[in-house]
């Protein structure tokens, strides 16, 4: 595992400092929240699905480290406008690829927390956070 400052690339820090789609979402049809019991990182997702089963709007709230919050921000940009079925099919690899940084096992949990919350919001049971 090559851990270095690569974890804190420009793009990650940018999403962390300037989160996209952060805040409440009036009229959300699906909501979920989870926290990482080991460290307390928290992500809440609000999702609005439109008539043609698309994710019309998505917002997140949360607190935690750069990795968990940047990954939540990036995830919202990823799924906004996505057909529900695609979002349901979203796996950890896709998310990690978009993050594009080396991660240790503990930090992996930070990175995947928002995906886990998305699955909860969509009523899926898959445990992706480990």
């Amino acid at each position: 595992m090559s851990i270095s400052y690569d974890m804190y690339q420009e793009q990650i820090l940018d999403h962390y400092k300037h989160p996209r789609n952060k805040g409440l979402l009036a009229g959300a049809t699906k909501n979920a929240r989870d926290s990482n019991p080991l460290c307390g990182d928290e992500v809440v997702l609000h999702v609005k699905v439109d008539g043609s089963d698309r994710i019309a709007e998505v917002k997140f709230e949360g607190q935690g480290c750069a990795i968990s919050q940047a990954s939540a921000s990036m995830l919202t940009t990823m799924v906004k406008g996505m057909p529900l079925s695609d979002a349901e099919g979203l796996g950890r690899d896709a998310v990690l690829k978009q993050l594009g940084i080396p991660l240790s096992a503990v930090r992996l949990k930070c990175a995947l927390l928002s995906l886990h919350v998305l699955k909860l919001a969509l009523g899926q049971k898959a445990d992706v956070a480990t």
């Binding site: 851990i3 096992a105 503990v106």
Partner: protein
Amino acid sequence: MAKPAKVMLNVPAIKADFPILQRTIRDKRLVYLDSAATSQKPKQVIDATSDFYSRYNANVHRAIYELGEESTREYEGAREKIAAFIQAKSPTEIAFTKSTTESLNLVAYGYGLKGKIQKGDEIVGTVMEHHSNHVPWHFVKDHKGAVLKYVDVKDDGTLRMEQYDDLLTDRTKIVTVSLCSNVLGTINPVKEIAKRAHEVGAICVVDAAQAAPHMPIDVQDLDADFLAFSGHKMLGPTGIGVLYGKQELFEATEPLLGGGEMIREVHLGSAKWNDVPYKFEGGTPNIAGAIGLGVAVDYLTKIGMEAVRGHEMEITEYALEKLARLKGVQTYGPKDVKKRAGVVSFTIDGAHPHDIASILDVEGICVRSGHHCAQPLMERFNLPATARASFYIYNDMDDADALVAGIKKVQEVFA
């Protein structure tokens, strides 16, 4: 289990792995015949522990730094090895405890006292259980009003299975039984016992302290609901035990120890538990112990548990035959080695078991004497105590011969 074809392990090679077996006792070769109490440890296990402390000691799970990553990886790796060793469906069905005793108490408190058991619910045990599978259930009786019932043991050392059928009712909620007796060596028909328990809607708790070290275990085939064993009896360190539980039962079980690691959230006066199995691992666990047990499992797996079992059957058969030829010596438990493990309890006319052990000690032979933490069983057989020799992978026919020679010395002293 059919008796495997004559298999004897390469004992000299195995002995070479165990530093303590190079030791002499008062100038005599150490003949260690007390593995049922605790086994000796190969250098692989000893070194794994030292290596942990010397290279990557750190607390598990919450550390972000490299050392913590390494210790967590090894600790969780041990969990995976143990899951595979007993054919659990998933590592999440394995909780680390400090001993079989803690594992059984965890079930008694978490599923019984603090859990599902109500006044009048029935718990069926057996007369041959170790105290660790008796006393925790007393707690459930005393605090919840559960009713305890016991399956008796026949003179040949096997359970009275007809009686078991009679004891089961629709109030039976838990059946608890040892897979192998630590006094008689009897291997109990746990698969059958679990099946009948399930038929009346009860769960089956298995004490595998004497089984896990000595024979292959397949929790799915047994259909055990909980299963407990200790590291120190299977080449592993002291202070580490295992509780297997079916996922859905683990989820339905309350934790025993409250504290760090086992929670998701704590507030003043309330808390939410972490996921299984972590909710059962409150406090800093025995990290070195778990890692050492993982290496012990590697060692046993490399030999193969079928081969371990076959080896012990050979020695046990040999020892039982030799002992049967000695006048004034009685052995207990099934005569057929297919039905028993390598735990051989015996008595000698006119010599108390403590005196047997003392005199064997003079000869460098380690056996246990006493009630073996199984007083109800001793009462059943009307024995104040027995001497007990038990065999493991590092024992061979020479050790059995040494035992027989030692017994003759005892008889001379008390002639």
